[in-house]
Protein backbone atom coordinates (compact mmCIF):
# COMPACT_ATOMS: atom_id res chain seq x y z
CA UNK A 1 0.00 0.00 0.00
CA UNK A 2 1.30 3.44 -0.84
CA UNK A 3 2.16 5.68 2.11
CA UNK A 4 -0.71 8.11 1.52
CA UNK A 5 -3.38 5.39 1.32
CA UNK A 6 -1.82 3.61 4.28
CA UNK A 7 -2.00 6.74 6.44
CA UNK A 8 -5.55 7.47 5.34
CA UNK A 9 -6.67 3.96 6.32
CA UNK A 10 -5.07 4.28 9.74
CA UNK A 11 -6.45 7.77 10.30
CA UNK A 12 -9.94 6.78 9.29
CA UNK A 13 -10.02 3.66 11.48
CA UNK A 14 -8.64 5.33 14.58
CA UNK A 15 -10.96 8.34 14.06
CA UNK A 16 -13.88 5.94 13.65
CA UNK A 17 -12.98 4.36 16.99
CA UNK A 18 -12.60 7.68 18.79
CA UNK A 19 -15.78 9.17 17.30
CA UNK A 20 -17.89 6.18 18.36
CA UNK A 21 -17.68 7.57 21.92
CA UNK A 22 -18.88 10.96 20.59
CA UNK A 23 -16.23 13.24 22.11
CA UNK A 24 -16.74 16.98 21.77
CA UNK A 25 -13.10 17.41 20.79
CA UNK A 26 -10.63 15.38 18.80
CA UNK A 27 -7.14 16.47 17.79
CA UNK A 28 -5.13 14.59 15.22
CA UNK A 29 -1.43 15.20 14.85
CA UNK A 30 0.61 13.58 12.12
CA UNK A 31 4.38 13.91 11.88
CA UNK A 32 6.49 12.49 9.13
CA UNK A 33 10.06 11.77 10.25
CA UNK A 34 12.92 10.74 8.03
CA UNK A 35 12.69 7.16 9.25
CA UNK A 36 9.03 6.83 10.02
CA UNK A 37 5.80 8.41 11.01
CA UNK A 38 4.05 9.31 14.22
CA UNK A 39 0.31 9.74 14.61
CA UNK A 40 -1.24 11.10 17.79
CA UNK A 41 -4.98 11.25 18.39
CA UNK A 42 -6.30 13.00 21.46
CA UNK A 43 -9.90 13.30 22.60
CA UNK A 44 -11.70 14.53 25.68
CA UNK A 45 -13.46 11.28 26.44
CA UNK A 46 -12.60 9.63 29.76
CA UNK A 47 -12.37 5.88 29.32
CA UNK A 48 -12.33 3.25 32.06
CA UNK A 49 -8.99 1.50 32.67
CA UNK A 50 -10.21 -1.83 31.24
CA UNK A 51 -11.07 -0.15 27.93
CA UNK A 52 -7.65 1.52 27.82
CA UNK A 53 -6.08 -1.88 28.43
CA UNK A 54 -8.07 -3.55 25.66
CA UNK A 55 -7.08 -0.69 23.33
CA UNK A 56 -3.41 -1.27 24.21
CA UNK A 57 -3.76 -4.99 23.57
CA UNK A 58 -5.49 -4.49 20.21
CA UNK A 59 -2.99 -1.88 19.03
CA UNK A 60 0.06 -3.85 20.13
CA UNK A 61 -0.96 -7.22 18.71
CA UNK A 62 1.76 -9.52 17.42
CA UNK A 63 2.99 -9.12 13.87
CA UNK A 64 0.59 -10.85 11.48
CA UNK A 65 1.73 -10.02 7.93
CA UNK A 66 -0.92 -12.28 6.38
CA UNK A 67 -3.70 -10.53 8.30
CA UNK A 68 -2.27 -7.01 7.86
CA UNK A 69 -2.00 -7.32 4.11
CA UNK A 70 -5.43 -8.85 3.55
CA UNK A 71 -7.81 -7.80 6.31
CA UNK A 72 -5.84 -4.71 7.30
CA UNK A 73 -7.10 -3.17 4.08
CA UNK A 74 -10.56 -2.96 5.68
CA UNK A 75 -9.26 -0.34 8.09
CA UNK A 76 -11.08 2.93 7.67
CA UNK A 77 -13.57 1.59 5.17
CA UNK A 78 -16.22 0.33 7.60
CA UNK A 79 -19.54 2.06 7.46
CA UNK A 80 -21.75 -0.45 9.24
CA UNK A 81 -19.84 -2.27 11.98
CA UNK A 82 -17.84 -1.07 14.94
CA UNK A 83 -14.30 0.26 14.54
CA UNK A 84 -11.61 -2.32 15.23
CA UNK A 85 -8.23 -1.26 16.50
CA UNK A 86 -6.70 -4.67 15.81
CA UNK A 87 -6.81 -3.83 12.10
CA UNK A 88 -4.37 -1.03 12.92
CA UNK A 89 -2.37 -3.07 15.43
CA UNK A 90 -1.17 -5.53 12.78
CA UNK A 91 0.22 -2.70 10.68
CA UNK A 92 2.16 -0.49 13.06
CA UNK A 93 5.38 -0.69 15.02
CA UNK A 94 4.10 0.29 18.43
CA UNK A 95 1.23 2.08 20.15
CA UNK A 96 0.71 3.83 23.47
CA UNK A 97 -2.64 4.56 24.99
CA UNK A 98 -2.58 6.98 27.93
CA UNK A 99 -5.02 8.94 30.02
CA UNK A 100 -4.49 12.69 29.51
CA UNK A 101 -6.29 15.29 31.64
CA UNK A 102 -9.90 14.43 30.93
CA UNK A 103 -9.32 12.45 27.82
CA UNK A 104 -7.36 9.76 26.05
CA UNK A 105 -4.25 9.97 23.92
CA UNK A 106 -3.41 7.37 21.34
CA UNK A 107 0.13 7.36 19.94
CA UNK A 108 0.85 5.26 16.91
CA UNK A 109 4.42 4.76 15.71
CA UNK A 110 4.98 3.60 12.20
CA UNK A 111 8.73 3.47 12.12
CA UNK A 112 10.25 6.38 13.98
CA UNK A 113 10.95 6.36 17.72
CA UNK A 114 12.48 9.81 17.84
CA UNK A 115 9.37 11.92 17.79
CA UNK A 116 8.33 13.44 21.13
CA UNK A 117 4.58 13.51 21.28
CA UNK A 118 4.37 15.13 24.73
CA UNK A 119 4.08 18.58 23.20
CA UNK A 120 0.66 17.75 21.79
CA UNK A 121 -2.49 18.00 23.81
CA UNK A 122 -6.02 19.28 23.50
CA UNK A 123 -5.93 23.07 23.50
CA UNK A 124 -7.40 24.62 26.62
CA UNK A 125 -10.74 26.47 26.49
CA UNK A 126 -9.01 29.88 26.44
CA UNK A 127 -6.93 29.03 23.41
CA UNK A 128 -9.89 27.89 21.36
Amino acid sequence: MKQKEYIMHLLAEVSNYVLEAMPSRMVISLHQESDGLHLAVIDNNERPEDELESMRTALNSASRPEMAEYYGSMGGTDLVGHARLSLIGWQIKHADVTRRDKGTKIDLWLGSDRFDSRQFNIPSEEKL
Binding site: E66, M67, M74, V80
Partner: protein
Protein backbone atom coordinates in the same frame (compact mmCIF):
# COMPACT_ATOMS: atom_id res chain seq x y z
CA UNK B 1 7.25 -22.39 16.09
CA UNK B 2 5.25 -20.77 18.89
CA UNK B 3 4.18 -22.94 21.83
CA UNK B 4 0.48 -22.82 20.97
CA UNK B 5 1.14 -23.99 17.42
CA UNK B 6 2.49 -27.39 18.50
CA UNK B 7 -0.85 -28.95 19.50
CA UNK B 8 -2.41 -27.56 16.33
CA UNK B 9 0.23 -29.20 14.14
CA UNK B 10 -0.19 -32.44 16.09
CA UNK B 11 -3.95 -32.38 15.58
CA UNK B 12 -3.55 -31.57 11.90
CA UNK B 13 -1.11 -34.46 11.57
CA UNK B 14 -3.55 -36.80 13.31
CA UNK B 15 -6.36 -35.60 11.02
CA UNK B 16 -4.27 -36.42 7.96
CA UNK B 17 -3.54 -39.88 9.38
CA UNK B 18 -7.26 -40.47 10.05
CA UNK B 19 -8.03 -39.39 6.49
CA UNK B 20 -5.43 -41.74 5.02
CA UNK B 21 -6.39 -44.62 7.32
CA UNK B 22 -10.11 -44.39 6.47
CA UNK B 23 -9.41 -44.11 2.74
CA UNK B 24 -6.94 -46.96 2.61
CA UNK B 25 -9.08 -49.14 4.90
CA UNK B 26 -11.93 -48.63 2.45
CA UNK B 27 -10.17 -49.15 -0.89
CA UNK B 28 -6.66 -50.44 -0.19
CA UNK B 29 -3.39 -48.62 -0.82
CA UNK B 30 -2.89 -49.41 -4.50
CA UNK B 31 -6.44 -48.55 -5.46
CA UNK B 32 -6.24 -45.29 -3.48
CA UNK B 33 -3.08 -44.21 -5.32
CA UNK B 34 -4.62 -45.13 -8.68
CA UNK B 35 -7.75 -43.17 -7.75
CA UNK B 36 -5.60 -40.20 -6.76
CA UNK B 37 -3.86 -40.27 -10.16
CA UNK B 38 -7.22 -40.53 -11.95
CA UNK B 39 -8.51 -37.45 -10.10
CA UNK B 40 -5.58 -35.31 -11.31
CA UNK B 41 -6.80 -35.38 -14.90
CA UNK B 42 -10.52 -35.18 -14.14
CA UNK B 43 -12.63 -32.00 -14.55
CA UNK B 44 -12.91 -30.07 -11.33
CA UNK B 45 -15.86 -27.79 -12.08
CA UNK B 46 -18.93 -27.90 -9.86
CA UNK B 47 -20.10 -30.50 -8.98
CA UNK B 48 -17.64 -33.36 -9.46
CA UNK B 49 -17.65 -35.72 -6.52
CA UNK B 50 -14.13 -37.15 -6.35
CA UNK B 51 -15.33 -40.05 -4.18
CA UNK B 52 -16.98 -41.34 -7.38
CA UNK B 53 -14.08 -40.44 -9.67
CA UNK B 54 -11.24 -41.91 -7.63
CA UNK B 55 -13.11 -43.87 -5.00
CA UNK B 56 -13.08 -43.04 -1.31
CA UNK B 57 -9.40 -43.95 -1.08
CA UNK B 58 -8.39 -41.79 -4.04
CA UNK B 59 -10.41 -38.79 -2.87
CA UNK B 60 -9.14 -39.03 0.71
CA UNK B 61 -5.58 -39.46 -0.58
CA UNK B 62 -6.01 -36.32 -2.70
CA UNK B 63 -7.35 -34.43 0.35
CA UNK B 64 -4.43 -35.62 2.48
CA UNK B 65 -1.87 -34.52 -0.12
CA UNK B 66 -3.52 -31.11 -0.49
CA UNK B 67 -3.59 -30.66 3.30
CA UNK B 68 0.09 -31.57 3.61
CA UNK B 69 0.98 -29.12 0.83
CA UNK B 70 -1.05 -26.35 2.50
CA UNK B 71 0.63 -26.92 5.85
CA UNK B 72 4.01 -26.96 4.14
CA UNK B 73 3.21 -23.63 2.49
CA UNK B 74 2.14 -22.12 5.82
CA UNK B 75 5.15 -23.45 7.71
CA UNK B 76 7.73 -22.62 5.06
CA UNK B 77 6.51 -19.05 4.66
CA UNK B 78 6.87 -18.44 8.39
CA UNK B 79 3.21 -17.75 9.05
CA UNK B 80 1.74 -19.02 12.29
CA UNK B 81 -1.00 -21.61 12.23
CA UNK B 82 -4.06 -20.03 13.81
CA UNK B 83 -7.67 -19.16 12.96
CA UNK B 84 -7.34 -18.14 9.31
CA UNK B 85 -4.76 -20.77 8.41
CA UNK B 86 -6.78 -23.51 10.13
CA UNK B 87 -9.86 -22.37 8.22
CA UNK B 88 -7.93 -22.32 4.95
CA UNK B 89 -6.36 -25.73 5.52
CA UNK B 90 -9.64 -27.47 6.33
CA UNK B 91 -11.35 -25.69 3.45
CA UNK B 92 -8.66 -27.04 1.13
CA UNK B 93 -8.99 -30.52 2.62
CA UNK B 94 -12.75 -30.41 2.07
CA UNK B 95 -12.65 -29.07 -1.46
CA UNK B 96 -10.01 -31.63 -2.41
CA UNK B 97 -12.91 -34.08 -2.20
CA UNK B 98 -14.71 -32.29 -5.03
CA UNK B 99 -12.60 -30.06 -7.23
CA UNK B 100 -9.15 -29.17 -5.91
CA UNK B 101 -6.08 -31.16 -6.81
CA UNK B 102 -2.35 -30.46 -6.49
CA UNK B 103 -2.31 -30.29 -10.31
CA UNK B 104 -4.89 -27.52 -10.60
CA UNK B 105 -3.90 -25.62 -7.44
CA UNK B 106 -0.25 -25.08 -8.33
CA UNK B 107 -0.63 -22.38 -11.03
CA UNK B 108 -3.06 -20.39 -8.87
CA UNK B 109 -0.49 -20.29 -6.06
CA UNK B 110 2.19 -19.37 -8.58
CA UNK B 111 0.04 -16.48 -9.83
CA UNK B 112 -0.23 -15.13 -6.28
CA UNK B 113 3.55 -15.50 -5.87
CA UNK B 114 4.00 -13.35 -9.00
CA UNK B 115 1.56 -10.74 -7.68
CA UNK B 116 3.54 -10.56 -4.43
CA UNK B 117 6.77 -10.16 -6.40
CA UNK B 118 5.30 -7.36 -8.48
CA UNK B 119 4.02 -5.60 -5.37
CA UNK B 120 7.47 -5.98 -3.79
CA UNK B 121 6.10 -7.92 -0.82
CA UNK B 122 7.05 -11.26 0.68
CA UNK B 123 4.79 -14.15 -0.28
CA UNK B 124 3.75 -14.67 3.35
CA UNK B 125 1.80 -11.40 3.17
CA UNK B 126 -0.34 -12.92 0.41
CA UNK B 127 -0.50 -16.50 1.61
CA UNK B 128 -4.22 -16.40 2.48
CA UNK B 129 -5.02 -15.34 -1.08
CA UNK B 130 -2.99 -18.29 -2.35
CA UNK B 131 -4.54 -20.85 -0.01
CA UNK B 132 -8.17 -19.81 -0.43
CA UNK B 133 -7.57 -18.87 -4.08
CA UNK B 134 -7.20 -22.52 -5.07
CA UNK B 135 -10.99 -22.28 -5.44
CA UNK B 136 -10.23 -21.39 -9.06
CA UNK B 137 -8.46 -24.68 -9.69
CA UNK B 138 -11.24 -25.85 -12.06
CA UNK B 139 -10.14 -23.15 -14.54
CA UNK B 140 -6.87 -25.07 -14.88
CA UNK B 141 -8.60 -28.47 -15.04
CA UNK B 142 -10.92 -27.11 -17.73
CA UNK B 143 -7.98 -26.85 -20.13
CA UNK B 144 -6.36 -30.09 -19.02
CA UNK B 145 -9.42 -32.30 -18.94
CA UNK B 146 -12.42 -30.71 -20.65
CA UNK B 147 -11.74 -28.98 -23.95
CA UNK B 148 -9.77 -31.70 -25.66
CA UNK B 149 -6.51 -29.80 -26.04
CA UNK B 150 -4.81 -32.87 -24.70
CA UNK B 151 -1.46 -33.59 -23.08
CA UNK B 152 1.19 -30.92 -23.09
CA UNK B 153 -0.88 -28.21 -24.83
CA UNK B 154 -3.65 -28.59 -22.25
CA UNK B 155 -1.16 -28.24 -19.41
CA UNK B 156 0.49 -25.17 -20.93
CA UNK B 157 -2.86 -23.46 -21.55
CA UNK B 158 -4.26 -24.43 -18.13
CA UNK B 159 -1.16 -23.36 -16.24
CA UNK B 160 -0.97 -20.11 -18.19
CA UNK B 161 -4.58 -19.11 -17.54
CA UNK B 162 -4.40 -20.39 -13.94
CA UNK B 163 -1.36 -18.21 -13.29
CA UNK B 164 -3.14 -15.16 -14.72
CA UNK B 165 -6.26 -15.59 -12.56
CA UNK B 166 -4.07 -16.27 -9.51
CA UNK B 167 -2.21 -13.05 -10.24
CA UNK B 168 -5.45 -11.02 -10.06
CA UNK B 169 -6.69 -12.57 -6.80
CA UNK B 170 -5.06 -10.18 -4.27
CA UNK B 171 -6.09 -7.03 -6.12
CA UNK B 172 -9.70 -8.11 -6.60
CA UNK B 173 -9.96 -9.81 -3.19
CA UNK B 174 -9.25 -6.61 -1.30
CA UNK B 175 -11.91 -4.69 -3.21
CA UNK B 176 -14.48 -7.45 -2.69
CA UNK B 177 -13.75 -7.42 1.04
CA UNK B 178 -14.69 -3.75 1.21
CA UNK B 179 -17.98 -4.42 -0.59
CA UNK B 180 -19.42 -6.61 2.14
CA UNK B 181 -17.22 -5.19 4.94
CA UNK B 182 -16.24 -8.60 6.27
CA UNK B 183 -19.75 -10.02 6.62
CA UNK B 184 -19.08 -12.80 4.10
CA UNK B 185 -16.54 -15.20 5.56
CA UNK B 186 -15.67 -16.77 2.20
CA UNK B 187 -14.44 -13.54 0.64
CA UNK B 188 -12.31 -15.38 -1.91
CA UNK B 189 -15.51 -17.15 -2.97
CA UNK B 190 -16.92 -13.79 -4.01
CA UNK B 191 -13.58 -12.84 -5.57
CA UNK B 192 -13.25 -16.11 -7.50
CA UNK B 193 -16.89 -15.89 -8.60
CA UNK B 194 -16.32 -12.36 -9.88
CA UNK B 195 -13.21 -13.43 -11.82
CA UNK B 196 -15.09 -16.57 -12.89
CA UNK B 197 -17.73 -14.44 -14.61
CA UNK B 198 -15.04 -13.14 -16.97
CA UNK B 199 -13.42 -16.52 -17.43
CA UNK B 200 -16.76 -18.20 -18.20
CA UNK B 201 -17.63 -15.29 -20.49
CA UNK B 202 -14.53 -15.95 -22.56
CA UNK B 203 -15.23 -19.70 -22.59
CA UNK B 204 -18.80 -19.12 -23.78
CA UNK B 205 -17.68 -16.61 -26.41
CA UNK B 206 -15.34 -19.32 -27.71
CA UNK B 207 -18.29 -21.73 -27.94
CA UNK B 208 -16.98 -23.89 -25.13
CA UNK B 209 -19.51 -25.73 -23.02
CA UNK B 210 -19.59 -24.59 -19.39
CA UNK B 211 -22.94 -26.08 -18.42
CA UNK B 212 -23.20 -27.37 -14.86
CA UNK B 213 -23.25 -31.13 -14.46
CA UNK B 214 -23.70 -32.92 -11.18
CA UNK B 215 -21.70 -36.00 -10.26
CA UNK B 216 -23.03 -36.90 -6.80
CA UNK B 217 -22.27 -40.01 -4.78
CA UNK B 218 -25.55 -41.36 -3.42
CA UNK B 219 -24.02 -44.41 -1.78
CA UNK B 220 -21.49 -43.05 0.69
CA UNK B 221 -19.52 -45.50 2.79
CA UNK B 222 -19.01 -45.72 6.54
CA UNK B 223 -15.64 -43.96 6.09
CA UNK B 224 -17.49 -40.90 4.76
CA UNK B 225 -19.90 -40.88 7.68
CA UNK B 226 -17.17 -41.25 10.29
CA UNK B 227 -14.70 -38.65 9.00
CA UNK B 228 -16.05 -35.37 10.40
CA UNK B 229 -17.46 -36.82 13.66
CA UNK B 230 -14.01 -38.34 14.30
CA UNK B 231 -12.27 -35.03 13.63
CA UNK B 232 -14.80 -33.25 15.83
CA UNK B 233 -14.27 -35.59 18.77
CA UNK B 234 -10.50 -35.35 18.30
CA UNK B 235 -10.49 -31.55 18.37
CA UNK B 236 -13.10 -31.33 21.14
CA UNK B 237 -11.04 -33.63 23.37
CA UNK B 238 -7.86 -31.76 22.41
CA UNK B 239 -9.44 -28.50 23.57
CA UNK B 240 -10.82 -30.00 26.77
CA UNK B 241 -7.52 -31.65 27.70
CA UNK B 242 -5.55 -28.48 26.99
CA UNK B 243 -7.69 -26.25 29.17
CA UNK B 244 -10.28 -28.25 31.15
CA UNK B 245 -11.19 -25.45 33.55
CA UNK B 246 -11.81 -22.74 30.98
CA UNK B 247 -14.17 -24.44 28.54
CA UNK B 248 -17.17 -22.29 29.45
CA UNK B 249 -15.21 -19.04 29.73
CA UNK B 250 -13.65 -19.58 26.30
CA UNK B 251 -16.95 -20.58 24.72
CA UNK B 252 -18.57 -17.48 26.22
CA UNK B 253 -15.84 -15.31 24.66
CA UNK B 254 -16.37 -16.92 21.27
CA UNK B 255 -20.16 -16.67 21.42
CA UNK B 256 -19.86 -12.94 22.18
CA UNK B 257 -17.97 -12.36 18.94
CA UNK B 258 -19.92 -11.32 15.84
CA UNK B 259 -17.60 -13.48 13.77
CA UNK B 260 -17.01 -10.72 11.28
CA UNK B 261 -13.80 -10.99 9.28
CA UNK B 262 -11.21 -11.26 10.69
CA UNK B 263 -12.22 -13.00 13.96
CA UNK B 264 -9.37 -15.27 14.95
CA UNK B 265 -10.67 -17.35 17.87
CA UNK B 266 -7.21 -18.80 18.50
CA UNK B 267 -6.15 -15.25 19.37
CA UNK B 268 -9.27 -14.07 21.15
CA UNK B 269 -10.28 -17.24 23.00
CA UNK B 270 -7.11 -19.40 23.11
CA UNK B 271 -6.26 -22.55 21.17
CA UNK B 272 -8.40 -24.66 23.51
CA UNK B 273 -11.45 -22.46 22.98
CA UNK B 274 -11.09 -22.60 19.20
CA UNK B 275 -10.68 -26.40 19.24
CA UNK B 276 -13.81 -26.94 21.35
CA UNK B 277 -15.77 -24.59 19.10
CA UNK B 278 -14.64 -26.45 15.98
CA UNK B 279 -15.63 -29.76 17.55
CA UNK B 280 -19.07 -28.49 18.55
CA UNK B 281 -19.81 -27.14 15.07
CA UNK B 282 -18.63 -30.35 13.41
CA UNK B 283 -20.84 -32.50 15.63
CA UNK B 284 -23.94 -30.32 15.27
CA UNK B 285 -23.70 -30.13 11.46
CA UNK B 286 -22.92 -33.87 11.11
CA UNK B 287 -25.84 -34.59 13.45
CA UNK B 288 -28.19 -32.59 11.23
CA UNK B 289 -26.96 -34.41 8.13
CA UNK B 290 -27.56 -37.78 9.78
CA UNK B 291 -30.97 -36.64 11.04
CA UNK B 292 -32.31 -35.62 7.61
CA UNK B 293 -30.59 -38.57 5.89
CA UNK B 294 -28.26 -36.51 3.68
CA UNK B 295 -25.45 -38.15 1.72
CA UNK B 296 -22.02 -37.93 3.35
CA UNK B 297 -20.11 -37.65 0.05
CA UNK B 298 -17.32 -35.49 -1.39
CA UNK B 299 -19.24 -32.20 -1.67
CA UNK B 300 -21.08 -32.46 1.66
CA UNK B 301 -17.91 -33.54 3.45
CA UNK B 302 -16.32 -30.47 1.87
CA UNK B 303 -19.09 -28.36 3.41
CA UNK B 304 -18.69 -30.00 6.80
CA UNK B 305 -14.90 -29.61 6.81
CA UNK B 306 -15.14 -25.95 5.78
CA UNK B 307 -17.65 -25.28 8.56
CA UNK B 308 -15.39 -27.17 10.95
CA UNK B 309 -12.30 -25.13 9.94
CA UNK B 310 -14.12 -21.82 10.25
CA UNK B 311 -14.94 -22.82 13.82
CA UNK B 312 -11.56 -21.20 14.51
CA UNK B 313 -12.25 -18.17 12.34
CA UNK B 314 -15.67 -16.62 12.70
CA UNK B 315 -18.34 -19.28 13.12
CA UNK B 316 -20.01 -20.45 16.30
CA UNK B 317 -23.39 -21.81 17.30
CA UNK B 318 -24.96 -18.42 18.05
CA UNK B 319 -24.20 -16.95 14.63
CA UNK B 320 -24.72 -20.10 12.53
CA UNK B 321 -28.01 -21.48 13.89
CA UNK B 322 -30.14 -18.58 12.52
CA UNK B 323 -28.52 -19.06 9.08
CA UNK B 324 -29.26 -22.80 9.22
CA UNK B 325 -32.87 -22.01 10.10
CA UNK B 326 -33.23 -19.56 7.19
CA UNK B 327 -31.96 -22.10 4.66
CA UNK B 328 -34.17 -24.91 6.02
CA UNK B 329 -37.32 -22.77 6.00
CA UNK B 330 -36.58 -21.48 2.45
CA UNK B 331 -35.95 -25.05 1.28
CA UNK B 332 -39.27 -26.28 2.67
CA UNK B 333 -41.19 -23.19 1.54
CA UNK B 334 -40.03 -23.58 -2.05
CA UNK B 335 -40.92 -27.27 -1.99
CA UNK B 336 -37.36 -28.56 -2.30
CA UNK B 337 -35.86 -31.59 -0.67
CA UNK B 338 -33.65 -30.96 2.36
CA UNK B 339 -31.20 -33.59 1.09
CA UNK B 340 -31.02 -32.49 -2.58
CA UNK B 341 -27.52 -31.30 -3.60
CA UNK B 342 -28.38 -27.56 -3.75
CA UNK B 343 -30.19 -27.20 -0.42
CA UNK B 344 -27.86 -29.43 1.61
CA UNK B 345 -24.77 -27.63 0.27
CA UNK B 346 -26.47 -24.28 0.89
CA UNK B 347 -27.22 -25.42 4.46
CA UNK B 348 -23.56 -26.17 5.13
CA UNK B 349 -21.96 -23.30 3.23
CA UNK B 350 -24.53 -20.53 3.91
CA UNK B 351 -22.81 -20.09 7.25
CA UNK B 352 -20.45 -17.86 5.29
CA UNK B 353 -23.07 -15.26 6.34
CA UNK B 354 -22.73 -16.04 10.05
CA UNK B 355 -21.31 -12.57 10.87
CA UNK B 356 -24.60 -10.96 9.81
CA UNK B 357 -26.42 -12.99 12.50
CA UNK B 358 -23.59 -12.36 14.95
CA UNK B 359 -23.67 -8.58 14.54
CA UNK B 360 -27.29 -7.75 13.73
CA UNK B 361 -29.16 -10.58 15.46
CA UNK B 362 -30.92 -13.85 14.62
CA UNK B 363 -33.70 -12.27 12.52
CA UNK B 364 -31.24 -10.73 10.08
CA UNK B 365 -29.32 -14.00 10.09
CA UNK B 366 -32.47 -15.95 9.32
CA UNK B 367 -33.35 -13.59 6.46
CA UNK B 368 -29.81 -13.83 5.08
CA UNK B 369 -29.96 -17.64 5.11
CA UNK B 370 -33.33 -17.51 3.35
CA UNK B 371 -32.13 -15.15 0.59
CA UNK B 372 -28.91 -17.12 0.23
CA UNK B 373 -30.67 -20.30 -0.82
CA UNK B 374 -32.46 -18.44 -3.60
CA UNK B 375 -29.23 -16.86 -4.85
CA UNK B 376 -26.94 -19.85 -4.65
CA UNK B 377 -29.13 -22.02 -6.83
CA UNK B 378 -28.62 -19.56 -9.70
CA UNK B 379 -25.07 -18.33 -9.28
CA UNK B 380 -23.13 -21.49 -10.20
CA UNK B 381 -24.41 -21.27 -13.77
CA UNK B 382 -23.17 -17.66 -14.08
CA UNK B 383 -19.52 -18.61 -13.64
CA UNK B 384 -19.90 -22.05 -15.17
CA UNK B 385 -18.89 -23.76 -11.93
CA UNK B 386 -15.26 -22.63 -12.18
CA UNK B 387 -15.49 -21.03 -8.72
CA UNK B 388 -15.62 -23.92 -6.26
CA UNK B 389 -16.77 -21.54 -3.52
CA UNK B 390 -20.06 -20.84 -5.24
CA UNK B 391 -21.71 -20.33 -1.86
CA UNK B 392 -19.04 -17.74 -1.04
CA UNK B 393 -19.94 -15.96 -4.28
CA UNK B 394 -23.68 -16.00 -3.58
CA UNK B 395 -23.01 -15.23 0.08
CA UNK B 396 -20.92 -12.22 -0.89
CA UNK B 397 -23.72 -10.85 -3.04
CA UNK B 398 -26.24 -11.47 -0.26
CA UNK B 399 -24.01 -9.89 2.37
CA UNK B 400 -23.42 -6.84 0.14
CA UNK B 401 -27.19 -6.39 -0.26
CA UNK B 402 -27.77 -6.62 3.49
CA UNK B 403 -24.83 -4.34 4.33
CA UNK B 404 -26.02 -1.73 1.82
CA UNK B 405 -29.55 -1.67 3.26
CA UNK B 406 -28.39 -1.69 6.89
CA UNK B 407 -25.93 1.11 6.13
CA UNK B 408 -28.66 3.17 4.46
CA UNK B 409 -31.04 2.67 7.38
CA UNK B 410 -28.31 3.51 9.86
CA UNK B 411 -27.26 6.64 7.99
CA UNK B 412 -30.81 7.96 7.70
CA UNK B 413 -32.16 7.03 11.12
CA UNK B 414 -32.91 10.15 13.09
Amino acid sequence: MLEFEKPLYWLMGLSILVLLFLGIAQDGFQSSVQGFIRIQSHPGRLINDFTLVGGTGGAFFNAAVMTILSLFLVRSSGIRISGPTLAATFTIMGFALFGKTPTNALPIVFGVVLAAKLAGKPFKNYILFALFGTALGPVVSFFIAEIGLGGFSGFVAGYGVGTVVGFFLPAVGIVMLRMHEGYNLYNIGLTAGFLGLFVAGVFRASNMNVDIEVLWNREPTLAHQLLVPLFSVLFLLGGIIRSPNKILINQKKILKSSGRLPSDFVDSATVAGALVNMGLLGLVASGYMALVGADFNGPTLGGLLTLFGFGAFGKHLRNTLPIFAGVVVATLLFGKSLVAPGPILAFLFATTLAPLAGEFGPLIGFAAGFVHLVMVEQSAAWHGGVDLYNNGFAGGLTATLFVAVIQWVKANKS
